[in-house]
Each structure stands twice: as structure tokens, then as C-alpha cells.
Amino acid sequence: MAIPDQAKFERHEHDVLIIGAGGAGLRAAIEASAGGLSVGLVCKSLLGKAHTVMAEGGVAAALGYVEPKDNWKVHFRDTMKGGRYLNQWRMAQLHAMEAPDRVKELEEWGALFDRTADGRILQRNFGGHKYPRLAHVGDRTGLEMIRTLQQHGIHCGIHVYMECTVTRLLTGGDRVRGAFGYWRDSGRFVVFHAKAIVVATGGVGRCFRINSNSWECTGDGQALAYFAGAELMDMEFMQFHPTGMVWPPSVRGTLITEGVRGEGGTLRNSEGKRIMFGYIPELYANETATTEAEADQWLRESTSGIASKARRTPDLLPRDIVARAIHSEVKAGRGSPHGGVFLDIHSRRSAEDIKRKLPAMYHQFKELGDVDITRAPMEVGPTAHYTMGGIRVDPETQESRIRGLFAAGECAAGMHGANRLGGNSLSDLLVFGRIAGLHASRYAKAHGVPPLDEDEIGVAAREALAPFERVEGPNPFLLHEDLKDKMQTFVGIIRSEEDLRKGLEHIARLAEATARVKVDGNRQYNASWHQAIDMRNMIVVSDAMARAALARKESRGGHAREDFPDMDKGHFSKVNIVVRRASAGMEIEEVVHADPPPEIQNVLDEA
């Protein structure tokens, strides 16, 4: 395939270019366009299909409608504790303070959250949140949010580029100048010229065999930023959601909302025993119920607006704790027939309640799992769900270390520390999507358009076409299957030095194979070509994840080491691990974690 004439590439110019059109990208685009700038929004899929639609349980915001005692300080404390205090405190603070306004703003744009008896936004309990805090719409909150942002956004004058994938950021070696990509349908190249770019491309779940993510979650933004010279941080922290489907194989990993436990669902082993009472860590011992009676009293009272004196049910401990508990039960031989444990809502709520509160779960199990969850328990097990790590950004502006390059949402790091609380991702993307859009537009207003480097565009085009040029080479789909298996086995929910070293060997082998990959056919809607390009990105994030995991010799949040099972109170409690590209390849550095100032430390020490 001849290299096309680069002067003929389709070109577009914008003040701000947003890459990624999930919640964070859409919110950033809305904010940037509010400043009267020209905004381009690039979606890998059709608009409104991004992984945000899969978010189920709710958006966390201390509105205080169900529990008036709730406020940003409590939310901030819960978030920092859930993240085992490795969060960038300023991001967690901004998030807790701004989330309520961001949720109210969605109502202004047409969102319809479930209501309290007095007509305000209803909030539900979720893991690690002290009070009922999650605004929700049944179990389809993400859909409501993305549709609201989409329906508002299309009237804001944003230029939307659908089914368009960016393969390189264009920086000329110093600052953001634009991006290079291809159209999915035709395979033709497109060059974006922009003053500022916001990367909001989501997660990395497709690196794992068992995952809850859609095909798009291949670490694109992290890899684009990495190649452009930005840093990645906290990559060792991968959230395995405790409750994915385990049977049948077709849907292994598909998400079951934490809302099931928020509505009273409980985890049991093959002996019928509620498992979580055996896994309450010291950090949460004071606030967690130790008997079934106390847990059930709390559930009953906290959902009826009664200030409960009972402590929280251990079924709603943070996700990392619950996921590892399930893993341990299965390993001890007390699992369900297909290698999970049982999640029981049928004996806890009426069939009518289940269908009303969890309609998507009911439907999903009935259609895909042959289980009626109003009559029988679900089989559940951990599934790779969310990366706390990502592009290292300035907490105030979301700007990376590359001038003009911003990041928001799951692909950015810092907000969640070592573990994210459920519900904090939907609020994260609203809060930081807005902040990134705002600061990107300020940056664009203050700076001219730097010229594009035509050589850089030529390199990007040749890189993209290389898989067509080769006479022979590995099949990209099979390489992806291989990577998913190796990441699951060696960089999965429980890690060890031995496994991580093996994992790194496999990643190196797959990196080499990916560089030789061959694709057939033409460029029109060619999935194998897209897979070849996505593989490059997945290799980068997998490599970063494994290296950071090897460096962190402790267990904390979404990073558990068999050989270092305890949370370190010394060195590793004070550092974040940063990954960057150097001349000799990927290099890592432990950077000292920023301590909060005294007035913020006081907020953490209260209660």
C-alpha cells in the first residue's frame, strides 16, 4: 500500500480538541465551547456509546438530600480513606466540593434522577461512602448521564468526529500542536490542528482476560500521552470489581452493579455463609458491623431515612477488599460451581423491588445467564474494571507536563489514589471534565496556533500503514488474546515478584510481536488493522502496570502482593510511582506524595 500524499490529508483546525467522548470528554467539550471557542470532539465510536453508558449504580455527590449530615468534608474523607491516602488530596477536595453542583447542572440539562418522597434527588448507599450519597436512575445512571451530556452538547456548537481514532499526538517535541488519526469507515487519515488538547479516552480493561470493559478501553489516551512525553502515575492500581458475571463463558466479566449490595444484596459462599464478616480490615473495623443482625439493621434504617446507630454492612466495604475476599473464598474451595461466590438479593428483597430497582440486572441475568434473580442467587467473581492510574496531571488544571495537553476522567491519575470508591467515577468525570475543558480553553485563548511539523505527520502515517506493508506477521486478534491471558495470570488481582517478572517477559515478547503484526484487506472498516493499532497502546499500559506493580513492595488498594501482603506504613505510604518514556525505554521513578496542608489534614482527622 503506497503512502498517500500527505498534502491531501483531510485537515481540521480547532482551538480545543477533545479526544474521547464519554462523560469526561463531553463535559470538557461543553465547558470549552462555553468560552466561545471552536471545539472538536473525537469519538472512537458513535456518539453516546462510550463506556460511560455501562456505569450503573450512581454518581457520588454530597447533596445531603437523604442524609442531611452529609457534606463535602465527609465525602472527601471517605474518598481519601478509600484511596488509602495516596490520592492527590487537592483533586479529592475539588471533587468532593464541586460534585453536587455538577449533578444539579445535569438536572438543568434534562437528567431525571430517581426522587425522594419530598421530590428531590434520591441517593443510595455504596461501598465506602459513609452516607447514602449516590444520585442514580435505577441501575442505568451512566446512560442517563451520557445521554444528558450528549443531548446538551450537540446544541453547543461542538464539531463531533464520530468513529475516528487518534493514533498520535503531534507535539513537534515541545507542546501540543495537533493530533493524527484515521476514520474508521474509510481508513483515510485526518489531521487535527489545535492549540490545546484534552485526552479523555477512559480505561485499560481490555488488557485483561476477565474484564467489564467495552472494546474501546485499550489505554489509548495513556499511550498517546506517554509517547508525547507526558508521565503516567499510579499504574499499579487496578480495580477489580468484586461482582462480575462468571457464567456462562460468553458473559464472563460483565458487570453486576454494586447497587445490588446497596439495595441489600449479600455475598455468600457454597456453605451459605455470609462471607464479608470474615474480611473486615483494621482500617474499617470501627465503622463496620460484626454481626448479621447489626448489618441488616443498618441497611434497613439507613435506607429509610433513620439515623442508624448500627454500623455499616461489610458487604459494602470498598471494592478492593470485597474482590480479594471473593478470591480467597474461591481459593479455599468454598466457591460457587463456576468459580465465583453467590450474590443473593432474591431472599432479601421482594421480586417487585428487584425489578424496579435493578431492572437491567434482572434483564441481563434472564437473557444472558438463564437465572431469574428474583428467585435464585447470582454467581459473581472479580472482573478488571477501572484503572486508578493514568496520565499525571496538575491537580488545579488537569494539565500534563506537556504544554497544552490536558487529561480528564479515567485516563487521568491522582483523584482516586490506590482504590476508587463506587460512584466516584461518574462524579470524577463531571468535575474534572469541566476543569480540564475550562483550563484547556484558557490555555487556547492565551496561546497562538503553533505550526504543525509535517515530518511528524509523515512518521505517523507510515507507522499506521506499516501492518499492511509486511509480507507476513502475527495475527493481531491472537496477540490480544495472548496479552489478556498473560495479564490476567501474572499482573492480576494477586501479584508476586515471580509472577510480575514472568509477566514482563511476556509483555516484552508481545511488544516485539506487535511490532511485526500483519493485517490483510483494505483500510475500510478493517477491525484487524484497528486491533493492531490498539495493541500498541495496550502493550504500553500493560508494561507500565507490571513495572509499577513490581516496584511497589506492599499491598494497598488495587495492588495486592502475595509476597508483601501488608500495607506499608513507611516508605510506600509516601510515594507515588511515575512512569515515563526515556531514551533507553520505559523508566520509573518514585515521587514523594504531596501531604495536605494543616487545614485539610484537620478535615481528614475529624470524626
Binding site: S45, L46, G48, K49, A50, H51, V53, M54, K104, E107, E108, G110, L112, R115, D118, G119, R120, L122, V137, G138, R140, L143, E144, R147, Q151, H152, I154, H155, V160, M162, D185, S214, W215, W247, P248, P249, S250, V251, T254, L255, A360, Q364, E367, L368, G369, D370, N475, P476, F477, L478, E481, V519, D520, G521, N522, Q524, Y525, N526, A527, S528
Partner: protein
């Protein structure tokens, strides 16, 4: 050890110029859905086979196609749903131009969405909230379950035959119904619903409701009430506002009117008078 079973799918291969059904044999496994089979073909037999998908959990509405002529989400169509030996023919949605294989050009829908005037809420209540009762939003929450798979657009024969005349189609009539029944919205879109989006073209065959994977009662709960409101309330702005404030069709429930209604009536009446004048 269970015996491996195989199944044969016939998949449309082609583009806007035409194409044909090609048979592929696939090994099945428990729970397998049509989309799994398509992916298997893609990985092992035909790497260039084009298919659009995202979540594989029935949430995003990307993998719409026709299976044995019926509009379906491929990710929610179990292989075990078909009798042994029964052919499984997978073809692209008929109402939209084929891009390649199973992928169609659905841009018509995104263009239509832009033409609908957006939500415009009344001012907030004095305490900064908007009070709404759950029962008043139940119905539109049903509509907002829509995952924009466009299967309703695909099956709608008005879209198939008349789409160039800009019939909005079931998906966007449902969106218009959502806005019209939204307790907070203040914009009167009835003229547009009638004249621009041609609700009159719908002759209520309910094909759309039958194929909706979210089981939204598109016709009964959405289009028919919207038709009634466009017809009955066309010259009666006060009745329209009463209906709006109740969040229902105005005939079933009456709730306390929000404080701002008087102002809204005046504004609406003024707008209407302006338009009439």
C-alpha cells in the same frame, strides 16, 4: 467432557454496491450470542469482517443488525435461541445504507437529533432544587431507557419509505415525547412535532415497540399520547401547561402547580400570540 458443537452462520459480506451471504462454521460454547460468533469468525477466519459493537452487554445499542430478518442486538441474541439446523442469517439493518458487511451508516439519526430544540427548564424552586414526584417522571424514565440502537428506526416502514421527507422516526418521537412530558420543560414543540417531524405519518402499527430491546412502549406510552396532545391541545395552551405540570397526560393526575406557572402561561401565551400574529 462435552462434545464440541458447531453452528453455521450466514453473514452478509459486501458494501454499498451490494454483496452476498457467506457461510461460516463456528464452534459454540455455553451462553454464546451471535456477536460472539461474529467475533470468532473475525479472529479466526475473516479478519476484515466489519461489525460495530461496544459493550456486549445490551447497554450501548451499537451491535444492531438483522438476524433471520428480525432487527436485534447481536449481543443479546443467544445462539441457543435457534433450533438445531435452523439457519442463522446475519444481515445489516435495512433502513440504513451499508458501509461494509454488518456496518451501516446511521448518521441520519444524529442529524435528526440536532434538529430537536433542546430541553429548557423553568427556574429552580426557591431552595435551589427542582421538586418532582417519582410518579410524575416514571413514564419518561421509561423513555430514557432508550439505548439508541435505532432498531425502531430500522423496522419503521415510514422511515424506510419516507425518510427523505424528514419523518423523525420512533426514536425521536420518543425523545420529543420525553421533552413534552418533562415536568420542568417550558418549550412548546407541538407545532414542530406536527409539521416538522411529521408525527401524523405514524399509523401506529407498533412494529417499533415490538423490536425495542429495552421494552419501551414506544407507541402506547409515547407516540399515541403525543399525537393526542398535538391534536387536542393545539389551540389550548393552558391545558397543555396543566398537562406538563402534572408530568402525565393531564387527565390522570393533578398536582400542585409550581410557583412559576403563571409567568410561564403568560410567556407561552405571548409567544403563541406572536406566532399567530
Amino acid at each position: 467432557m462435552t462434545m464440541t458443537k458447531t453452528v453455521t452462520l450466514r453473514v452478509f459480506r459486501g458494501d454499498s454496491q451490494g454483496g452476498q451471504l457467506e457461510p461460516y462454521e463456528v464452534e459454540t460454547y455455553p451462553g454464546m450470542v451471535v456477536l460472539d460468533a461474529i467475533h470468532d469468525i473475525q479472529a479466526k477466519q475473516e479478519p476484515t469482517l466489519a461489525v460495530r459493537w461496544n459493550c456486549k452487554a445490551g447497554r450501548c445499542g451499537s451491535c444492531s443488525a438483522e438476524v433471520n430478518g428480525k432487527p436485534r442486538l447481536m449481543c443479546m441474541t443467544r445462539i441457543s435461541h435457534f433450533r438445531e439446523g435452523e439457519p442463522i442469517d446475519v444481515t445489516p439493518m435495512k433502513s440504513f445504507p451499508v458501509v461494509k458487511d454488518l456496518v451501516t451508516d446511521v448518521s441520519f439519526n444524529f442529524e435528526m437529533a440536532k434538529k430537536i430544540p433542546p430541553f429548557k427548564p423553568r427556574p429552580r424552586d426557591p431552595d435551589g432544587t427542582w421538586r418532582m414526584q417519582q410518579k410524575d417522571i416514571d413514564r419518561i424514565q421509561e423513555f430514557r431507557k432508550c439505548i439508541e440502537c435505532f432498531l425502531c428506526q430500522d423496522v419503521c416502514h415510514v422511515v424506510r419509505d419516507h425518510k427523505k421527507e424528514s419523518f423523525a422516526g420512533p426514536r425521536f418521537l420518543i425523545h420529543l415525547a420525553t421533552l413534552d412530558m418533562h415536568p420542568l420543560d417550558t418549550l412548546d414543540r407541538r407545532e414542530l412535532v406536527k409539521d416538522r417531524f411529521k408525527i401524523g405519518y405514524c399509523n401506529i402499527t407498533k412494529c417499533c415497540s415490538e423490536v425495542c430491546p429495552e421494552q419501551i412502549h414506544i407507541t402506547d406510552n409515547g407516540i399515541i399520547p403525543l399525537k393526542e396532545r398535538v391534536a387536542d391541545d393545539y389551540f389550548d395552551p393552558i391545558r397543555w401547561l396543566l398537562a406538563k405540570a402534572s408530568g402525565q397526560d393531564g387527565k390522570k393526575t393533578k398536582v400542585r402547580l409550581p410557583l412559576s406557572t403563571d409567568a410561564a402561561v403568560e410567556t407561552s401565551a405571548a409567544t403563541r400570540a406572536e406566532k399567530a400574529g
